[in-house]
Amino acid sequence: MRTRDLTGDSTQVVRVPTTERPRVNQKTKMKVRDLEVWYGEKQALHGVSMDVAENEVTALIGPSGCGKSTFLRCLNRMNDLIPDVRIKGEVEFENQNIYAPEVDVVELRSHIGMVFQKPNPFPKSIYDNIAYAPKILGQVRKRTDMEDLVEHSLKRAGLWEEVKDRLQMPGLSLSGGQQQRLCIARAIAVSPSVLLMDEPCSALDPVATATVEQLIDELKENYTIVIVTHNLQQAARVAGYTAFFHLGNIVEYSDTDSLFTHPREKKTEDYITGRYG
């Protein structure tokens, strides 16, 4: 397991305005500007702006109800499904505002995948769990291509060796950690460019968590990953950048090392030292 050195070299710390991306040596994948979200009368996000770096892991941390999951679900418009939700602001992806009227939400979601808190494999076989989306999206038509894709996706998710002999078994017969990796394999099978993860390890035991964390670390070579986590150590271990959310605002956003070693804000420091949350 790879761990980041929390007492890393302090000269690397670059102070930037809170909402901008901390470092400029990587391309920006998504740009969020002044994002406000209401659930009915209750405002969940108060004008959040943030840049997401390409091929990096960005962690969103903060106490329960701080808006980090809401923010994540805005990035692929999963929040559209909730009744009574109102969203203002812009989320730029591939030079387009994903909330613009001409953007198709189904198309968008095939480019920005998501992995959920609780593993949610479909009640189908392992094979069909992965083949389902490429089939309906019309990405793969030939049977042999599909078999290749299933194998490739399972290999990328580090599950192939464990399941290659029982691809026709129901996905639900796997253990929790395996199910979550199946869901990751399912998400990457449609080749999205961004993967959103909503506390992907909160329902897993420590061993399974370690496997998934390692997987995330490998996936960042090809994917831009945004991960919500409750677990500060996990953010420190896997993320290049970390944003601390509090009461629907980003309090601090910088590279993970500086956020954990030299927080600029008192609130951040209180949170990471365990004074509340």
Partner: protein, 389 residues
């Protein structure tokens, strides 16, 4: 791989959206179809039945004397006499007995016309003697024919004379049957539910009782009729056709409805209410009696009303225990032969005269309004008093 991504729908996606639209259209279509059935059904019943709520009445002079008491149809002028319902002539001797001062007098009264006249006036049938038609038209032009509210539909019993047939005996019969159903199925149903939900250990036997109850809720109603016939009537000797036999049979059918809804109501009361009561020293039974039952009462009553409404519309088992008898006078006890509303509707629907078609439909409208009132009461009760936890 991020090169050239467009977020507007691709050709392939447009095709998928067309499939989406088709599927949604099927779903809407199905719901619209179901609603259309409902609308068609109600308009049809109202169209067939509304006219039976009024009846043709004719203003005539009625003469009371020695002769007309014997030959009652001579009490009105000869050419008008066949227009008037036979049911009136029957009442003359009784009326004169009760009011001797009428003897030798003539009074002007509005009398119910025969079903033939009524059907002709309402445009259902043209089979009226031409001479009678002429008389009727003459009376009509004199303003001596009109429609009056058919109070007999509600306040008289069954009759072989359609213009005189009403639902009164059926009302009384249904009332008796429902009393029996309530007295038998409510206490047993609630007690069963309390046992299963609050006391029963989770073992094979309990699961068996549960499955058995769910099965009873789905057993064809006619089989309950066979039970009623073989056990209540043939074995225990409960009088055939009686409200008691009908009520006992329907009780067994209503029991599962009450048990299932009472269990749901008990289950809805959170566990911490029971624990809270027991924590202050109440026994299990005291906690249920003083806290759980009062809280779940609205749900229990709602389920009971729905069960009663179901029993009130049930016919098939009652046919087998003889509750399709001809009952002109309302029963006065549980053990007399009786009929109920749906059975009366069934009897009327089998009558050959055309007038009974409207009567049947009118009876249906009355039954449906009763049932809808009952169910609406249940829904209001639930919405008003049920607590969400």
């Amino acid at each position: 791989m991020s090169q050239g991504i467009t977020l507007s729908p691709s050709r392939q996606l447009k095709k998928r959206y067309r499939a989406e639209k088709r599927f949604k259209a099927y779903c809407i279509g199905a719901l619209v179809l179901a609603m259309a059935f409902l609308v068609l059904f109600f308009t049809d019943m109202i169209r067939q039945g509304y006219s039976a709520f009024v009846q043709t009445e004719i203003e005539v002079e009625v003469t009371y004397n020695e002769d007309t008491v014997k030959f009652t149809n001579e009490s009105v002028r000869e050419e008008v006499s066949p227009l008037i319902s036979r049911a009136f002539y029957r009442t003359i001797p009784r009326r004169v007995d009760a009011n001797p001062e009428l003897m030798g007098t003539t009074e002007t009264r509005w009398l119910t016309a025969t079903a033939h006249v009524d059907q002709y006036r309402k445009g259902y049938s043209d089979r009226l003697d031409p001479e009678l038609k002429a008389t009727l038209d003459r009376l009509d032009s004199e303003g001596r024919v009109s429609y009056g509210f058919n109070s007999g539909l509600f306040f008289s019993g069954d009759s072989k004379i359609p213009s005189n047939a009403g639902l009164w005996s059926a009302f009384v019969g249904s009332f008796y049957v429902m009393i029996v159903v309530l007295l038998v199925s409510f206490p047993i149903g609630v007690a069963t539910a309390i046992y299963l939900e609050e006391f029963a250990p989770d073992n094979r036997f309990t699961q068996g009782i549960e499955i058995n109850i769910n099965n009873l809720a789905a057993v064809p109603s006619i089989l309950f009729g066979l039970l009623g016939l073989a056990i209540f009537i043939n074995f225990f000797g409960v009088p055939r056709s009686s409200a008691l036999a009908g009520g006992l049979t329907l009780s067994l059918m209503t029991l599962p409805v009450i048990i299932i809804s009472t269990r749901a109501a008990l289950k809805a009361v959170p566990q911490n209410i029971r624990q809270g009561a027991q924590a202050v020293g109440a026994s299990r039974w005291q906690a249920i009696r003083d806290h759980v039952l009062p809280l779940s009462l609205p749900g229990i009553l709602t389920g009971t009303i729905i069960g009663i409404a179901q029993a009130m519309g049930e016919t098939a088992p009652l046919l087998l225990i003889g509750m399709i008898a001809y009952i002109p006078d309302a029963p006065t006890s549980m053990t007399e032969a009786a009929t109920v509303l749906p059975a009366q509707i069934f009897t009327w629907s089998g009558m050959p005269e055309g007038a009974y078609v409207s009567l049947t439909a009118a009876g249906i409208l009355v039954l449906l309004s009763l049932l809808i009132t009952l169910n609406a009461t249940a829904v209001i009760l639930r919405n008003r008093f049920e607590r969400r936890w």
